[in-house]
Symmetry: C2
Subunit: 580 residues, 2 copies
């Protein structure tokens, strides 16, 4: 490609609404152009990156035996009503009515449609396993779209769906996909981690996220540097501390803590470590009848160390706590006779279920609220001051330094951007849509399903969060809009420069290299700044002066300085630096 | 590709709602699968065809210097309000509200968005010409979607938009696109015709449709077999007959024609040719004030030969008739004192403007209504019985045998399916959206634009309408889902068959041929029926018996019978039959 035939449009300033570096750089480099909130034009340079991401995904999906098809962007509501998602999903599901007043959605994913295809097309176990995928436009009406392509409303996703005859086969299909994802992310040239993720109501361990490591990532990733353990924060288990519980050494003492309604304030006031305070979180679960009316409410008190954060996924897995909500102020007053900020498990007005985090269950001489405004209790001890908790569970987010669940070291935490997810679905959708096939016993059985996503338009943003400097983007070769840029200086003044540039351009093209020749006639400073901003990894500069010495200059985007290379050697040199 | 790794799903019966052969065959061959009215899944085989169409379009658009980008499927209404199309377009524009109640559309085309990009990005004449294109999902909420992909609601279109500094440059850009389209349609391997089309209010001759010739086509195409003249029916000019007008030979006679209210009935009753009758069409034009209220109405009488059809596009181009409507019964009574069926230009109650078709203007001794129910007048002659018409114009559709407008022969008419359109837009959108660039005189000027569409998902349907037989589809090589199918018979019973099939498959793959090996183990009859239905153009059958004679069988989808080819020669034979 010659730049004069292409479209390069860089900006000095990032848009005012760009909060993260990838959004700033993608806009400044002219990769994307905002059309509306969370809605972007993919400009020519950006589209090239997206197409390269798609091509790698497609190749590896095909290699893994998945078959590509496309499902419509605009989908009739009927199938979504069949699974109940048309009503259950929030306003992030974009609903439309057509000219006849019929309901439609703009697809956010396609479980319903693919299950509908499967129940019509896959009649027999002999047709299984089957894995269908599409690379298609999706829409999620985010309440607050932001961060450019990172959390847009319209985006491109690769979504795959596997259909199997039984759990064992479904798990094998899942593993095939997990392996394909590793190859895909390896090929992207990014630093990433596959982390165990929560698999929701389905249980089991067949849920992994593929996280691109970046300090600016929204997700906390937990891993053990001494082993291959890795999980996201929702999933990572906090092991029970090594017991036994310490003996009580302090008397239970009601202590004035005027205005100190947080554990941190109390610890500071009393001059004690935050880790001996205990926070009280009040939850509730409602039992409903068939009409959806609440017939019974159970209130719960969860106790966590003051320096720990509750993990809502884990809390929801405590028996009885599925679908919990936070208690109302009325419910809190009713059970504690006190407002939040000074709550504790001692002296309750009305009984409730107490769940202690594993850490709290083994604490001695701890501090909690006194159920009286401006008072806490110090020196609290299980057994002596209050009964043992009703339940002990892992309720908290792990912190750096916690023991790894595999027993092989200590946990570390880093930030990541989720760009892929493999997930074993079980029979959730096949049962919901009565999607069956005939088994080898001649009886109908529900498909065992898995689903597998990659955020095609999010990936470039994640790549930039991981790979940039103050001058701009630094693309990995595999997904760079161009792999090599040839920059002639003074092409219009020097026949030698022009001829050498054109020859190198032709040689690179002939060698199958994705090269762009900058023939725009820009001044060197502006030209270099453009390409550093755009982030093309390999640059060859051809100038009249160096050409007289028989050399040109090569500089990788990560190199501190250019290297002089003999004209005769430059093609081999560039190819030698390329990551194939 | 091996069929066992792919997805083949053919049907014996076409769906009940399939009216045209392409819809029937695409469904039966498993290329598409209906999800809702006018909304289809592109199944694996169908998607392969679509991708090949896209690839050819992309290559030729790039070669022609156009630059690819992508504009969102869901677009904010603001730009559409800026041009007024948000309100002006009918319900075929799918309108959405997001969770915040803001208006959006699902793009049917993207003139507004690309013009918005241009007015921001193209600041100077130095950046021109520029041509941007996308291959993207579109939606038109057709009132009555039908014919499968031929008139769907969701579809894929390639739309390109050129931006130029002046008319001359815009016309050059238009010609570059028209040439690119010829290359594209040549490469598809279809019989097509580029026909002049009406260019609407913009005028000029810069509008051409690319029509795939098919007996089932919705459009009538006019062409001259003796020259390169071709136009669609709306556009094709009916030349004035060679004069002079014949002399009057009959007296004007009021003739009873009880109950005969059509020209055909009258001609039959009187035993005269239909071509000497004249039909009266009554139109009206309204003049409105700024408030949109009608301040004046002009009624028009158009006279056409009884055997000719009015061309509404041509009528609308008669000076004063732009935006005409058909007259109301009241207006007809007011001017003619008679109801429709017996109208004529003689003895009007109130004057109106009379426009005669070129043919009618030169007729003598003709027949028209008497403005009295159950009566016509015969022997009517201009000048003698009524004044010369106010205007003479080309008002009719041409018919086969008319003289070609280029004077080089007689017109013929065939049917076509419109799959592409190149169109000079002028400054319609750039003025509507105040999209300017700085000219070389330092002054802002409106972009001269063109737009260029190809119906990517309609093209395969048109290809099938043109290329099929009673057994199924016959794909041109360029857009076949697979170019070659290797059909081993009894692969599971014969090692020789298996080995030969695998070897030929590997050889074809190595030669870069898009081949599928049917390793499904189907019986020969079912296997052949599948591939004839699917329409893969080249088939090699490998059987144990012929293999013992050292031969395999080659059959092109259009061949009446198979040809025996030595195993050693089959690769060369297949390649020799392929259209590269």
């Amino acid at each position: 490609m010659k730049a004069s035939q292409f479209f390069i449009s860089t900006l000095k300033e990032a848009p005012a609404d760009a909060e993260v570096v990838s959004h700033k750089l993608m806009t400044r480099a002219g990769l994307i152009k905002k059309l509306g909130a969370g809605i972007y034009n993919y400009m020519p340079l950006g589209l090239r990156v997206i197409r390269k991401v798609e091509a790698i995904v497609r190749e590896e999906m095909n290699r893994a035996g998945a078959v590509e098809l496309t499902m419509p962007v605009v989908q009739p509501a009927e199938l979504w009503q069949e699974t109940g998602r048309f009503d259950k999903m929030g306003p992030e599901l974009l609903r439309i009515q057509d000219r006849h007043g019929r309901d439609f959605v703009v697809q956010p994913t396609s479980e319903e449609v693919i299950t509908d295809i499967a129940r019509q097309e896959l009649k027999s176990y002999k047709q299984l396993p089957k894995n269908f995928y599409q690379i298609q436009t999706k829409f999620r009406d985010e309440r607050r779209p932001r961060f450019g392509l990172m959390r847009g409303r319209e985006f491109i996703m690769k979504d795959a769906y596997s259909f199997d005859r039984d759990q064992a086969a479904a798990k094998a299909s899942y593993q095939v996909m997990a392996q394909a994802y590793r190859r895909i992310f390896d090929r992207f040239g990014l630093t990433y981690r596959a982390v165990a993720a929560d698999s929701g109501a389905i249980g089991g361990d067949l849920s992994e996220e593929f996280q691109v490591i970046a300090a600016t990532g929204e997700d906390a990733i937990v891993y053990c540097p001494q082993s291959d353990y890795a999980a996201n924060m929702e999933k990572a288990e906090a092991l029970a501390p090594v017991g036994p519980r310490g003996a009580a050494t302090q008397p239970q003492t009601k202590t004035a803590t005027p205005g100190k309604s947080t554990c941190a304030d109390v610890a500071e006031l009393l001059g004690v470590p935050l880790s001996i305070t205990v926070k009280s979180l009040v939850l509730a679960t409602d039992e409903t009848n068939e009409a959806g009316e609440i017939v019974k409410t159970q209130v719960w008190l969860l106790l966590l160390r003051g320096d720990h954060d509750m993990n809502e996924i884990k809390a929801g897995k405590v028996p009885g706590l599925a679908g919990f909500r936070f208690a109302t102020l009325g419910e809190i007053e009713e059970h504690f006779g006190c407002k939040p900020g000074y709550l504790g498990p001692i002296g309750l007005k009305k009984p409730l279920k107490i769940v202690a985090d594993r850490e709290v269950a083994l604490m001695a001489d701890w501090i909690c609220g006194a159920n009286e405004v401006d008072f806490h209790i110090t020196g609290v001890n299980w057994g002596r001051d209050l009964p043992e908790p009703d339940m002990v569970a892992d309720l908290r987010n792990v912190v750096a330094g916690d023991r790894s669940p595999d027993g092989k070291g200590e946990l570390a935490i880093e930030r990541g951007i989720e760009v892929g997810h493999v997930f074993y679905l079980g029979t959730k959708y096949s049962q919901g849509m009565n999607a069956t096939f005939l088994g080898d016993d001649g009886k109908p059985a529900f498909f065992e399903m898995g689903c597998y996503g990659i955020g095609v338009t999010r990936l470039p943003a994640a790549a930039i969060e991981q790979n940039h400097d103050e001058r701009g983007i630094i693309w990995p070769d595999a997904i760079a809009p161009f792999t090599v840029v040839v920059c002639p200086v003074g092409m219009d003044r020097s026949e030698a420069v022009k001829a050498t540039a054109e020859q190198l351009y032709a040689d690179l093209l002939a060698a199958g290299v994705d090269v762009i020749l900058d023939d725009r006639g820009e001044r060197p400073g502006a030209m270099f700044a453009d390409w550093e901003l755009i982030g093309v990894p390999h640059r060859v500069t051809i100038g009249d002066k160096s050409l007289k010495e028989g050399v040109v200059e090569y500089q990788h985007r990560r190199d501190a300085a250019a290297t002089k290379v003999a004209v005769a050697d430059i093609l081999a040199h560039v190819k030698g630096r390329m990551v194939v």
